[in-house]
Symmetry: D2
Subunit: 263 residues, 4 copies
């Protein structure tokens, strides 16, 4: 049972693992090193259709995932987020359709786009970055996905705080997150969660100290190690090389200005 | 800035880390070992309000997260899913509002509830289990969250296959997933993804072999190790004990009955 | 082909995993909950002999390994060293028969005994501890193994430095190792290595700073994670629980008072 | 306090991390890209002496460690052993001065040399390999270290078994170790240990099955993950990249032909 492409849909064209493009299903030619194909042939064609190019090569057509968008089409101004970390952030922040999530920094918009997709059209992402270039790149990237539930703010949070509002959750991905914890208390309702992504132990200690000062509780830091398993038949084994570290995820719950928990 | 509770809202009452309850905001008494409180006081009260009990103890009131629901209120028939694995499954399957996700087995409904929340009211979860008891427990658990976008099927997938339909993605969490891969091809459009959660290497090998036979590609297996960091001031260090293994996540993309990728 | 026990040899008696004893092969009765056996029967008997007790149970007789000694017979004043860390320390310090190794603190003598065995009768371990009780316990423990190549020093290294001498290598296992790095330079020849075992990141940073100040090079920190694999037939998988952290191993080479390396 | 070089000693000459040589202290010139130095200047000079080259560069002179020998001077026919694994093997096999250790395969002799150094002049390594080339390379490599306690056997263990003798311990590092477990029982006394190094789960399962058949007990498999910590000041963090897998270490104790343990 196959879903069909419609005119105007985005399409992921796959030649092999390294050669992939995201294009629009429209009556137009697409040229690459492997020849040219007419994208109009995909109108009303099933997902998974393969197009034969002018050079006799085949390009396979799929609907792109959010990770395809990020890896294939995004301009990257900065380190992108790993799937393992993005997924854990969704869980830690209890992200759901309709939520309003605050974020800083925007970076290239990778995590922003994942959050925006997860909160859906009834939700909203309020993102901040103090680098104009990052904001511009992220705006471009998000526009590719036709996600219009993101509010971009070119703003120095350390100096000026977050834009006013009421956040269901807050995620910090910046070099000195401990300097904005006081501002975080202005936008978080009690009971709401913060997640901070940070790569070093020094950042972990400083941020944890500020979280305690500002009455956050359930402060917990973890890291996720992703290990790939090679599956050659009769020789299943963990891969020789792996990513040893991306960053720590520090989470906490805001208790409001006065509360403290029995322990 | 604090959000307010309304009558009929669920509320997480927290005494300490181990003593937590989920109740309804309604003009009624709640009794526990720490005394009784009137839940009616929470109507129009801000998140984070603390209620003083008849014994002079304080219970703090927060909106429950999905993980709170699973840990505090669910009846557990089977192993629950870990946050790290659930988050990664959301990313691997590209889950978004509006999706139709197929699942088997239902188990206690932990992953079902996370998926149901993520696809939102415009999406749907079609879940299957061959154990009547699991279905009943999951129905009860899901009813607590007022999630009504889940279709439960008491069904033996190995014998009878999945209920008819068109899945945006499929997740398998069962003992012998290799026995349903052929059925999976009937509900997955080409380009759609499958994720299989399995704890042993033997299952990994058998399932991977079947995925290859049925023309799934991009077959990849990973596992996530979660490491907690203790943050005692001046003595930051990884925790002495950790969970060493939950399961592997095997993902693949269905290519349709005939396709094959250049590599 | 079986080796034989001689009178006076130590013998490990094994009933099961948790019930093990180290005794001497001598014409005498040994009593335990499982009955009594005559150890004299082991004289000239092969390794692996099983003795039937007065209660009809069997105790199996083996030569004890150094790890058996530490786990079964030692009095423990402090945390014992893990095999993974002890083995890595042997490699990092290039320990070999004939070496003179300096150590502080002595603790319960677990690492001391492993080092003493590795340097053999032609080598020497010079160990220091500022706690009299630790020294006494370690002396008792080491006497069990008949290792007489250990010199015990009840001494406060921070205040008084190491005893004079020329170390082939130095291992530090103490709470504030950064306070003895200056003293370390007095006993280490240039080209000799130091290994510091420490559990926290704060200790790591402070010790590394001191090593740089005192002209140590090739400063490197690692940790070893040990993962056990369960091998139930047809269900091979990593164990659910594991030790998440014991400590970091910080190693460096002393360059002498003036040297610096091109990089 | 500095030890002195004597004529005929081996010396590690270090220009930087990547440019290192092992030479002999003798009245002779050594030429490299950084100029030439007279090695005779090292006679009676302290460890750590730096020699100025004809081009005004400095080479620093240290006594080589066993790991320096393996990394700098050995010809490598095959994968070398990692320090973490070699150290753990020493512990698991209870290696000590005077032991007789059996080994197959010899490979490039890396592990052989570590074992030979650890058992010292009173011990012996009996190593076997079915590849003549490996034996020749290992002989060359071991001759560099002047270790003369190794007996090399060019022999197919699967067909012909081990050379006769009485092993204190046995280490297997070969592709199909399950095919030599029966032969292992001929050289191991009861109570002696075997360690098998193998990279895949399939090998693990097959070897474990044979160990059970031949009455080995305490069968245990582990793997060691080595994680490096970067120590840039104020930014301490695990390294981004790491080795994800070298191999598993399967250990067991031989119980003799008839014994079985209560459990």
């Amino acid at each position: 049972m196959a879903s069909l492409f419609s005119e105007g849909d985005p399409v992921l064209l796959v030649y092999n693992k390294r050669h992939r493009w995201i294009k629009t299903v429209i009556d137009d030619l697409f040229h690459c090193n492997y020849g040219s194909v007419n994208l109009g042939e995909l109108i009303d064609a099933p997902y998974g259709t393969s197009l034969e190019s002018s050079k006799g090569k085949f390009l396979h057509a799929f609907p792109p995932t959010i990770i395809d968008w990020i890896n294939v089409a995004f301009k990257h101004q900065s380190q992108i987020i790993y799937e393992k970390d993005a997924g854990m952030i969704l869980m830690m922040l209890d992200v759901k359709p309709g939520d309003t999530i605050y974020e800083t920094g925007t970076g290239s918009g990778s995590l922003t786009s994942i959050l925006a997709r997860s909160v859906g059209p009834t939700g909203k992402i309020i993102t901040h970055d103090n680098r104009e270039q990052a904001i511009e790149a992220a705006k471009y990237n998000l526009s590719l996905l036709s996600l219009d539930n993101v509010e971009f703010n070119h703003r120095d949070i350390v100096e000026d705080g977050f834009v006013e509002g009421n956040a269901d959750a807050l995620v910090l991905d910046m070099g000195d997150p401990w300097r904005v914890i006081d501002h975080a208390t202005k936008i978080l309702s009690p009971g709401r969660k913060i997640v901070v992504f940070l790569p070093t132990f020094d950042q972990l200690g400083k941020t944890k100290d500020q979280l305690e000062i500002w009455n956050f509780k359930d402060i917990k830091a973890i890291e996720l190690l992703e290990r790939e398993i090679q599956m050659k038949k009769g020789a299943i084994r963990p891969s020789t090389r792996m990513i040893g570290h991306t960053g720590f995820l520090l989470s906490a719950i805001y208790m409001g200005p006065k509360l403290s928990l029995e322990t």
